[in-house]
């Protein structure tokens, strides 16, 4: 059973979103996603200052198996990227919701947060994907 923290929001493409309460969010991939990908060996982070729209591919994680795009859950400007992942991509496997965060966004439209799933919705999505 996957770990799905109740305080986070989720996307259908298995990103999690933490509302930092100051107009910014922190984004990572879920425990389910890291488990499905396997050991991560490379992360391509987005550039700070980059403007992204919701559902744009904006980072890449590569596991021993394959490369996977990470999609921006919301629209805004990239204001943070987790440099730790450059040297230690496995941090995502070890702590997907904490030290393994990937990037931070300053939201252009904070109301978009309401479009995301809550933990219950994401749990249902995983059950449906079976």
């Amino acid at each position: 059973m996957s770990n799905i923290p109740s305080e986070l929001k989720y996307t259908e493409s298995h990103e999690w979103v933490k509302d930092n309460g100051d107009g910014t969010v922190t984004v990572g991939i879920t425990d389910h996603a890291q488990d499905a990908l396997g050991d991560l060996v490379f992360v391509e982070l987005p550039e700070i200052g980059k403007q992204v729209a919701a559902k744009d591919a904006c980072a890449v994680v590569e596991s021993v198996k394959a490369a996977s795009d990470i999609y921006s859950p919301l629209s805004g400007e990239v204001v943070g990227a987790n440099d730790v992942l450059d040297g230690a991509p496995e941090t995502i496997n070890d702590d997907a919701y904490g030290e393994g965060w990937i990037f931070q966004l300053k939201l252009s439209d904070p109301s978009q947060l309401d479009d995301l799933m809550d933990a219950g919705g994401y749990e249902q999505l995983l059950a449906d994907e079976g």
Partner: protein, 379 residues
Amino acid sequence: MGSRTPLFSEHERLGARIVPFGGWDMPLHYGSQLDEHHAVRQQAGVFDVSHMRPVDIQGADARAYLQRLLANDVAKLQQPGKALYSCMLNAEGGVIDDLICYDLGSNRYRAVVNAATADKDLAWMRARAEDFRASETEHASPNPSAPALEIHARDDLAMLAVQGPEARAKVAPLLPEALREPALALKPFFAVEHGDWLVGRTGYTGEDGFEIMLPATQVVDLWQALLAAGVAPCGLGARDTLRLEAGMNLYGQDMTEEVGPLESGLEWTVAFEPRERDFIGRSALEAQRASGDLRDFIGLLLTGRGVLRSHQPVLVNGQPVGEVTSGGFSPTLQRSIALARVQAGIGEQCAVEIRGKAVPAQVVKPPFVRHGKARITME
């Protein structure tokens, strides 16, 4: 659902991630592919390779048949137990499969072929056996007492590969008594047989170790004993990164029915001498050699950031010169490495196109890693 080896429920019990592979449901990893990789480089790991197919070839004509069937020459097998790596080619010089062939003595040989190609291989081997028998009856007197050439798929056997610096010492006490000392005395690329057990000092990882064929009914016991002895269960994922580091080809990626041994780094496995040995594919390979425009098969070390993957274009001065055939992340080197097929003579530096960007790479000579140590120089 694919076919299942006798160890399938063991894999499930260990929480393996099961994936389809060549018609089989096989373990990809048991939690961490990287940990499994390092276990083999540093201690010992065991792979269920029961999906691979042992095929026995026996009879008075077995040797002559194999000399026709295989690009390498079984006449090199001068003593029982010796193993030979070879390609099995089609008439056009493409690779039908690669295999290991053991000389078991007394006109008996055993080939071990890949899982995904096993049915195709057997059909080819049987058809070529028919051709061979037809040509032999023209000039040889038939021996009514024993068939001169028999081909048996050994579906009754299972197979484990136990690999790593501690592998032989961990395996030996678990073998049938009669095999313990002979197995430990084996030189690399030799095997010893006892009943339906065959233990070979061979593998696909670049480490020391054994490959063991045994009755399928006994494999669960051996598997459990190996795990109890501290040998790590390892899946197909680690098997692939280990063989890539060892610079060993994977059939279907590095060589295919379209691309033969001379452009796959396997020229050393083609026995052109003696010249009168007319193996299948010989004339096609000789024509390729004579044409002189063969591509090189090289190793790549990515010096920029990213991960090399098969089919990425290799670039020199921005122009495509070939492509990656097998690529990945090397857990031992902590860098990305690849095998690639390119135009001849591209020099030492190139780039690989990864997601639209040209990332610098260095041309190196495989293997990348052997016996736990880096075999290439990194800047």
